[in-house]
C-alpha cells in the first residue's frame, strides 16, 4: 500500500515518540507496525527526517547501534511531542469526517 501524501511526517514522529531511533530502524518499524502493508521509500524518508529536523520537531545525534555500529539517531524534541499529539488529533478528525461522508454517501 502506498502512503497517503502528507502522512509520512506524522508516522515518523509517532515512531520516534517511543524513543530515539536511526533512519533504517524507523523504516523497519513502520513496515512492522503496518504488518508490511506500508512500504516507505527510503528515498523519501531521509528527506522527511531532515525536514522535520529543520522544523525543530526532531534532534539528531551520532550514536551506536546494539551491534556497536555508528549511526545517526533521531529523537523527538518537546516541540515535536506537541506536534505528534496535534497531528494525531487532526488525523482522527479527518478520518471521522471522511467516514461520515462515506457512510452517508
Amino acid at each position: 500500500m502506498e502512503l497517503m501524501q502528507g502522512t509520512l511526517d506524522m508516522l515518523i514522529l509517532k515512531i520516534l515518540a517511543s524513543g530515539k531511533r536511526h533512519g533504517y530502524d524507523i523504516s523497519k518499524r513502520i513496515l512492522l507496525l503496518s504488518n508490511s502493508s506500508l512500504k516507505v521509500g527510503h528515498g523519501s524518508m531521509y528527506p522527511a527526517l531532515h525536514r522535520l529536523e529543520k522544523k525543530g520537531f526532531v534532534n539528531s545525534m551520532m550514536g551506536e547501534t546494539a551491534r556497536g555500529r555508528s549511526a545517526k539517531f533521531y529523537e523527538l524534541t518537546k516541540h515535536g511531542r506537541e506536534q505528534v499529539e496535534q497531528e494525531k488529533q487532526q488525523w482522527r478528525d479527518f478520518v471521522a469526517v471522511i467516514d461520515v461522508i462515506l457512510e452517508e454517501g
Partner: protein
C-alpha cells in the same frame, strides 16, 4: 525564537557543510549496509544482496539532493558552487571570458562615470549642510528665472521679515589673490561677498580660525576674509600660521580670518568669502545698487505660504515707496535652496545621464548576452548531464545566471578602476576652471552601489534568457546529438534580433559620440575678424565707488584712465564698451522708421551695445560707410547710432541705412525716442556655421554712443600686441585703483582669445568624452558581433570542410559565412538611421518650439555618413576574421575528426 533557531540552523548547515555532507553520506551508507546484511541473512549472494539493497533504496543521489533541499541552504550552496564553477569556466573559456569582462568593465565604467558626473553636477550644496528650511529668495516676475534683489531691497526685507530666522546676502565676485610682496604672482579665484551671518545661516564652520562678526562687515579697512582649503593649499601649503596673514585681494590689503574645510565651496564654486553690508551703495540711486542672491531659513513650524505672504506685504510697501524701480516687483519666489539650481534643465541632464547609463548598460548586456549564449551552447552537454542526474530547471537557470554574475562581478571590479581613471582624466582636463563642482569627481559610496547595481543588471539581464533556454533543452536530444541540439538554443530569431539591436544601439551611441566631437571641431575652426589675442577686456562696477553718483560720472574717470593706460608701453588703443568682451550686447526689439509695426515684428530684434568713439580703433577696423560715433555725439546732440553689416543685411536690404531712424524697446516703458543711423561698421562677430540669413539675424548689432547711453558697468577694452601679458592686466588694475579705489572688477580680466579658449577647453573635454565613448562602443560592438559570428562559424566547420573538399574556393566560403549576417546587420543599420533621424527631428522641433533657430537637417549628412562608415567597418572586421578562419579550414582535419 523560531527565527533565531532557523537562522542558526542555516548558518550551522552552511558553515558545517562539509560535516553535514559527510554525515549524509554515512547515513545513506549505513542504511544500505543494514539492508545488505539483512539480505545476506536471508541467504542472498553478496552480489544479489547488494543489488537488491540498491534497488530497494531507489535513487540515492536524488535522495541526497532532496535532503540538501530540506536544509534550506540549497540556494546559497548552489550559488557558491556555481560561482566556483563559473570561475573555473572563465579559465576554461578564457577568450570569451576576457571578451565579456572587457565589454562589462567598459560598460560599467562608462555608466558609473555618467552617474558620478550627473550626480556631482546636480549637488548644489557645495559642502554646506542644508535642510529643507533653507530657502533661496528672488523676485517673481513670471519669467523662467527669478530676479535677484537689489542690495537696497535686501536690507529692507532683512530688517522687517519675521517668518525667517535671518536673511543672508550673496554677491558673486572675482578676486585676484596675491601676497603683499608678490603682487604679480597672484591667482584669480571665484569668490563671494556675503553678509556676516552667512556661515551661521548655512551651518558651516571653518576648520581653522573664525567666520565673520558684524564688525567685519562694517570695517572697510584691512578687511577679513575666509578662504577655502584650495587657496590655503595653493598659497600657504596648509600652514596653520595662515591666520591673520596679510594678503592682497584685488590690490586691497586683507586679513585671513578662517579656512573652510575641504569641499566647502558654497554657494556654488567659491573659494574666497568676504564680509560686506553693501553700505557703499547706501544713499545712491536705487538703480545703481548691485543685485544679490538672498538665502534665508524658515522658522520652525512656519510654512512657505506664510513666509511668502509676509515678504510680499513688505514688497508691496516698497513698490509704493519706490515705484520707479519696484512697481513690478510685488511678488517673491521662494525655492528650497537644494532645488534652486536643480531646475528643469538640470533634471533633464540628470535624466539624460541616467538614460544614457541605461542605454550603455542595455547595449553591453546585449553583447554579453551573445557571449553567454555561446558559452551556454558549448556547455549544453554538461547541463544536459546535470538535468539527467536530477537537477531541477531552477538549478540550471541559476547555474547559468551565476556564470553571468561571475563575469559581471569581475567587470564591475575593472569597471570601477576604469571609471576612476576616466574621471581622473576628465578632472585634470577641467581643473583649469577652478570650479570644484565641475571637476572634483570622486568615487563615493553611492557610485560603488551604482556599479554593483549595474553589474547585477548586466549580469542577470545578459544571462537570464540563455539560462531560461538552457533549462528548456531536451537533455535526451542533447546527449544523443550534441552539436545540432546545442546550436539550436543559440541560433534563432532571438540571436538575430539581438544582433539587429546591437547594430541599432551602436549607430545611435556612435552618432551621439560623433556629435560630441563636432563642437570641438567647430571651436578649432572659429575665427574672429581681428586678432583675438590683442584685445584685453575688464568689466567694471562703478556703483561700488561713492564718487560716481550716476553712470554719466564715468566721463570724469575715462579720459584720465585712457591717458594712464595709453602711457603703458605697448598699448595701442583703449575704449569703453558694454557686454561680454565688449562685443556681445543685449538682445532687444527694434522699430524702423517707415516699417509697418506688425510686419515681421518677430524679425525686428538686434543686439544693443554701447561704446566710446575709439571703440573700432581697439579692433584695428574702420567704418564701412558713414561715420563712427564721435566726440560730438553728446547728451545734448541728436541721438545717433551706428549699425554693423549684419544689421544692414537683415533690416535694411536694398536701402541705404545712413539717415534711417529706429527705436529700441525699453522694457515695460515702450520704445525709446528716434535714433538716427550715422554709420555702418564691420562685423566683430565670429564666423559661425549656418546660412548667411541666420548669421545676419543672430549678429545684427546697434552701437550707441556711451555719452548718450552711459552704463554703471562698462567694459574696458585695451589693445596691445600681446595683450595676454600680465603687465597689461596689472596696468588696468593699478590705474583703476589709483583713479577710483573703490571700483570693483566683474570677473577675471581676459583677452577675447582667453575667453574663447576657456569655452574651448570645456568643449574639448566634452569632445574627449565623445572620443572615449565612441572608442568604447566600437570595441564593444566588434567584440559582440565577433563572438556570435565566430561561434556560428565554428558550428559549421564540418560543412565548410566538406565544401572546401569538393572544390569551393576561399572567397566562396567567406561569402557563405558573411551572407546570413549581412541582412541582419543591414536591418540594424537602417533602423539605427531611422532612430537617429527621429531623434534629430524631435530635438529640432523641441528647439524651434522653444525659440531656437530653424536648422537645415541636411547639415547632419556628414555625421550620418561617418557613423555609417564606422559601423560598416566595425561589422566588416567582426565578420572577416571568422570568415578568413573558415576559409583556411583543412578538410583532412574535419574528415579525421569524423
Amino acid at each position: 525564537m523560531k527565527i533565531v533557531r532557523k537562522v542558526s540552523n542555516r548558518l550551522k548547515a552552511l558553515f558545517l557543510n562539509g560535516k553535514a555532507e559527510s554525515e549524509l553520506d554515512d547515513e545513506m551508507q549505513f542504511h544500505l549496509e543494514m539492508e545488505i546484511e539483512k539480505n545476506l541473512e536471508r541467504g542472498m549472494s553478496p552480489f544479489e544482496a547488494r543489488r537488491s539493497a540498491r534497488v530497494s533504496f531507489g535513487g540515492m543521489e536524488q535522495a541526497k539532493e532532496d535532503c540538501r533541499d530540506a536544509w534550506g541552504i540549497r540556494f546559497l550552496q548552489d550559488s557558491y558552487r556555481n560561482l566556483r564553477f563559473g570561475l573555473r569556466l572563465c579559465s576554461r573559456y578564457l577568450n570569451t571570458s576576457i571578451l565579456a569582462v572587457v565589454v562589462l568593465s567598459m560598460g560599467i565604467g562608462i555608466a558609473s562615470m555618467m552617474y558620478t558626473m550627473s550626480s556631482k553636477l546636480l549637488d548644489t550644496s557645495s559642502g554646506a549642510d542644508l535642510d529643507d528650511r533653507q530657502l533661496y529668495i528672488q523676485w517673481e516676475l513670471g519669467t523662467a528665472q527669478g530676479e535677484p534683489f537689489s542690495s537696497h531691497d535686501f536690507k529692507v526685507l532683512r530688517s522687517e521679515v519675521d517668518s525667517l530666522e535671518d536673511l543672508a546676502g550673496i554677491q558673486n565676485s572675482g578676486f585676484w589673490f596675491s601676497l603683499p610682496l608678490k603682487k604679480d604672482e597672484g591667482k584669480q579665484y571665484k569668490g563671494v561677498k556675503v553678509t556676516a551671518n552667512f556661515f551661521e545661516l548655512v551651518n558651516a564652520k571653518p576648520i581653522l580660525g573664525n567666520s565673520f562678526s558684524d564688525q567685519d562687515a562694517q570695517s572697510y579697512e584691512a578687511r577679513e576674509i575666509v578662504i577655502s582649503d584650495l587657496v590655503w593649499a595653493d598659497f600657504f601649503d596648509r600652514d596653520k600660521a595662515v591666520l591673520e596673514a596679510e594678503v592682497m585681494l584685488n590690490g586691497d590689503q586683507c586679513k585671513i580670518a578662517g579656512v573652510m574645510p575641504t569641499g566647502f565651496a558654497f554657494p556654488r564654486d567659491q573659494q574666497i568669502w568676504m564680509a560686506t553690508d553693501w553700505r557703499e551703495f547706501d544713499g545712491k540711486p536705487r538703480a545703481s545698487a548691485p543685485k544679490i542672491g538672498v538665502t534665508g531659513k524658515l522658522k520652525p513650524g512656519l510654512g512657505l505660504d506664510q513666509a511668502r505672504a509676509e515678504l510680499e506685504t513688505i514688497a508691496s510697501n516698497l513698490a509704493v515707496a519706490y515705484p520707479e524701480t519696484n512697481e513690478e516687483r510685488t511678488r517673491v519666489r521662494l525655492t528650497p535652496y537644494r532645488e534652486q539650481f536643480v531646475d528643469d534643465d538640470a533634471k533633464a541632464i540628470l535624466y539624460l545621464g541616467l538614460f544614457g547609463s541605461l542605454l550603455v548598460l542595455t547595449f553591453l548586456s546585449t553583447n554579453v548576452f551573445q557571449i553567454i549564449m555561446g558559452r551556454t551552447a558549448i556547455r549544453s552537454h554538461e547541463l544536459a548531464v546535470r538535468r539527467s542526474l536530477g537537477a531541477k530547471r531552477s538549478h540550471v537557470i541559476w547555474q547559468v545566471v551565476v556564470d553571468g554574475l561571475a563575469l559581471s562581478g569581475m567587470g564591475a571590479i575593472f569597471g570601477i578602476g576604469f571609471a576612476a581613471l576616466g574621471l581622473r582624466v576628465i578632472s585634470d582636463q577641467l581643473s583649469v576652471f577652478e570650479m570644484p563642482w565641475l571637476h572634483d569627481f570622486q568615487l563615493t559610496p553611492g557610485v560603488f552601489l551604482f556599479a554593483i547595481g549595474a553589474a547585477l543588471f548586466a549580469g542577470i539581464g545578459s544571462s537570464i534568457i540563455p539560462a531560461w533556454r538552457a533549462s528548456r533543452m531536451n537533455s535526451f536530444s542533447i546527449l544523443k546529438d550534441d552539436s545540432r541540439s546545442s546550436s539550436s538554443i543559440y541560433i534563432g530569431w532571438l540571436s538575430k534580433a539581438m544582433i539587429t539591436f546591437q547594430v541599432l544601439f551602436s549607430s545611435i551611441l556612435l552618432f551621439l559620440s560623433v556629435m560630441l566631437l563636432w563642437p570641438s571641431l567647430f571651436m578649432d575652426s572659429l575665427e574672429m575678424p581681428y586678432d583675438k589675442n590683442t584685445v584685453l577686456t575688464a568689466g567694471m562696477q562703478l556703483g561700488a565707488d561713492p564718487q560716481f553718483e550716476e553712470p554719466r560720472d564715468v566721463e570724469r574717470l575715462y579720459p584720465r584712465l585712457k591717458q594712464k593706460l595709453m602711457a603703458t608701453p605697448g598699448v595701442r588703443a583703449v575704449a569703453l564698451g558694454s557686454g561680454k568682451f565688449g562685443i556681445m550686447g543685449d538682445l532687444r526689439g527694434i522699430e524702423i522708421e517707415g516699417e509697418e509695426e506688425d510686419k515681421g515684428s518677430s524679425m525686428r530684434i538686434s543686439q544693443i551695445s554701447t561704446a566710446t568713439p575709439d571703440f573700432l580703433d581697439v579692433y584695428g577696423l574702420k567704418p564701412l560707410s558713414g561715420r563712427m560715433i564721435n566726440a560730438f555725439d553728446s547728451e545734448e546732440s541728436l541721438t545717433v547710432c551706428v549699425v554693423n553689416s549684419h544689421f544692414v543685411d537683415t533690416h535694411c536690404k536694398n536701402v541705404d541705412p545712413i539717415g534711417l531712424r529706429l527705436k529700441i524697446e525699453q522694457g515695460s516703458n515702450g520704445y525709446s525716442e528716434w535714433i538716427t543711423i550715422v554709420g555702418v561698421i564691420p562685423s566683430l562677430m565670429p564666423n559661425l556655421p549656418g546660412t548667411k540669413e541666420e548669421i545676419d539675424r543672430l549678429f545684427s548689432q546697434i552701437l550707441l554712443p556711451f555719452a548718450q547711453h552711459p552704463l554703471w558697468n562698462p567694459t574696458i577694452l585695451l589693445s596691445a600686441q600681446n595683450a595676454d601679458n600680465d603687465r597689461y592686466r596689472l596696468a588696468i588694475r593699478e590705474s583703476v585703483k589709483e583713479l577710483a579705489p573703490l571700483v570693483r572688477f566683474q570677473g577675471p580680466i581676459l583677452t577675447i582669445g582667453e575667453g574663447l579658449s576657456f569655452v574651448s577647453r570645456m568643449i574639448d573635454t566634452i569632445s574627449l568624452g565623445g572620443k572615449f565613448l565612441g572608442g568604447a562602443i566600437l570595441v564593444i560592438s566588434i567584440i559582440g558581433l565577433y563572438s556570435i559570428i565566430a561561434f556560428t562559424t565554428n558550428q559549421r566547420r564540418k560543412e565548410f570542410g566538406i565544401r572546401i573538399a569538393v572544390g569551393s574556393n576561399a572567397w566562396g566560403v567567406m561569402k557563405s559565412v558573411m551572407r546570413p549576417w549581412a541582412l541582419t546587420i543591414g536591418s540594424g543599420l537602417i533602423l539605427g538611421f531611422i532612430s537617429v533621424l527621429s531623434l534629430l527631428v524631435g530635438l529640432h522641433s523641441f528647439s524651434v518650439s522653444n525659440g531656437g533657430m530653424e536648422e537645415d537637417l541636411r547639415g547632419y549628412t556628414p555625421i550620418f555618413l561617418t557613423v555609417a562608415a564606422i559601423v560598416g567597418l566595425a561589422t566588416l572586421i567582426a565578420m572577416i576574421i571568422p570568415a578568413r578562419r573558415a576559409a583556411k579550414i583543412n578538410p583532412m582535419d574535419i574528415i579525421r575528426a569524423e
